[in-house]
């Protein structure tokens, strides 16, 4: 009984139409949450958090660099998981998810590299260092670019989906490399200042704005990924009855 309803839920989850209806309200909520959190977090981080006793005010770059780097990896993990599910259960929706995460992930990874470079100049004395974490993040960027190019090159939708799912899945080995790079190699990056079991290595006036910014970046990602997924669903289902019903209801408003 339970397994039957679970199975039904699983199939529902893979249905583009159901997903489209479900996310109608989520998009707006995520968008507004992102706007509020990002403005609040930036103002707090830029104007109210105390300066670092060693780095001075350049440490404020942390409030955009750390969330960008976290999000760059999370979006890739999202693509890897979607790829795995798509390959095993043949869901339509997972390829939609990959196509939506891809452009955002690429841009955010570039942003993480750029903000790191701008932070590195006053802190490490150089725009670019061949540092373990920097290089593995550069590899992450090239993985995004590679999958993007792959998708552009393959015309057949089914083959494109399977090929990018496979590369997304295999590429996730890079994620633990980024994570442990600071322990495996000599590095200029500092080790994690936060953990679930330890107290943060900075005062709360410094890490609370970071928390707000991290939440803001994730809300923003949810917003953009949902908008892109919904667009892709409409494109793929064009001509379906429910799509023309939806557009009519929309213009009727």
């Amino acid at each position: 009984m339970l397994s039957v309803s679970l199975k039904r839920l699983w199939h529902k989850l893979g249905s583009p139409r159901w997903f489209f209806a479900l996310t109608e309200t989520w998009v707006k909520a995520a968008g507004w949450a992102a706007l509020v959190l990002l403005i609040w977090g930036s103002a707090w981080g830029l104007g109210f958090a105390p300066a670092d006793y060693q780095q001075g005010n350049s440490f404020r770059i942390m409030y955009v660099h750390v969330p960008a780097a976290m999000l760059a990896q999370s979006l890739y993990i999202g693509m890897g998981v979607a790829g795995f599910i798509g390959l095993v259960w043949r869901m339509k929706l997972t390829d939609v998810a990959i196509s939506a995460c891809l452009p955002l992930g690429m841009a955010i990874t570039a942003l993480a590299l750029f903000s790191g470079s701008v932070w590195g100049r006053p802190t490490w004395g150089s725009w670019w260092e061949w540092d373990g974490r920097t290089v593995s993040t550069l590899v992450l960027f090239f993985l995004y670019v590679g999958i993007y190019a792959l998708r552009e090159a393959i015309a057949d939708q089914d083959l494109r989906g399977r090929a990018s799912a496979l590369v997304a899945m295999v590429g996730t080995v890079n994620i633990p490399i980024i994570k442990y790079s600071v322990e495996w190699w000599n590095t200029l990056h500092q080790p994690a200042s936060f953990g679930l079991t330890q107290k943060p290595a900075m005062p709360s006036e410094m890490w609370l704005p970071l928390l707000v910014m991290v939440l803001g970046f994730y809300a923003f990602a949810a917003f953009v990924v949902l908008v892109r997924m919904r667009t892709e669903i409409l494109n793929r289902e064009m001509g379906a009855r429910w799509v023309s019903d939806w557009i009519q209801a929309r213009s009727g408003r």
């Binding site: 830029l46 104007g47 105390p50 770059i61 955009v64 701008v118 932070w119 064009m238």
Partner: protein
């Protein structure tokens, strides 16, 4: 406010250039990500709308002309 004056806030000690560059580029990237997602959504809904209008005006077989992009 951590800073004593607005000028000091802009100056960020001696790191104003780096801090404002990082935040400026971040804002730019996020806005561009949003606008490009919004742009393709609007393009798609406009196309759907045109199709729906054709159907309403009774143009035959307009509904299934653009099944795949």
């Amino acid at each position: 406010m951590y800073f004593d004056s607005f000028a000091e806030f802009l100056q960020m000690g001696k790191h104003g250039f780096y801090v404002w560059t990082a935040y400026g580029v971040t804002a730019l990237v996020l806005v561009m990500c949003w606008l490009s997602a919004r742009g393709s959504f609007l393009k798609t809904t406009q196309r759907l709308q045109q199709q729906a209008d054709l159907v309403q005006r009774g143009v035959p077989s307009a509904q299934h002309t653009e099944n795949r992009k």
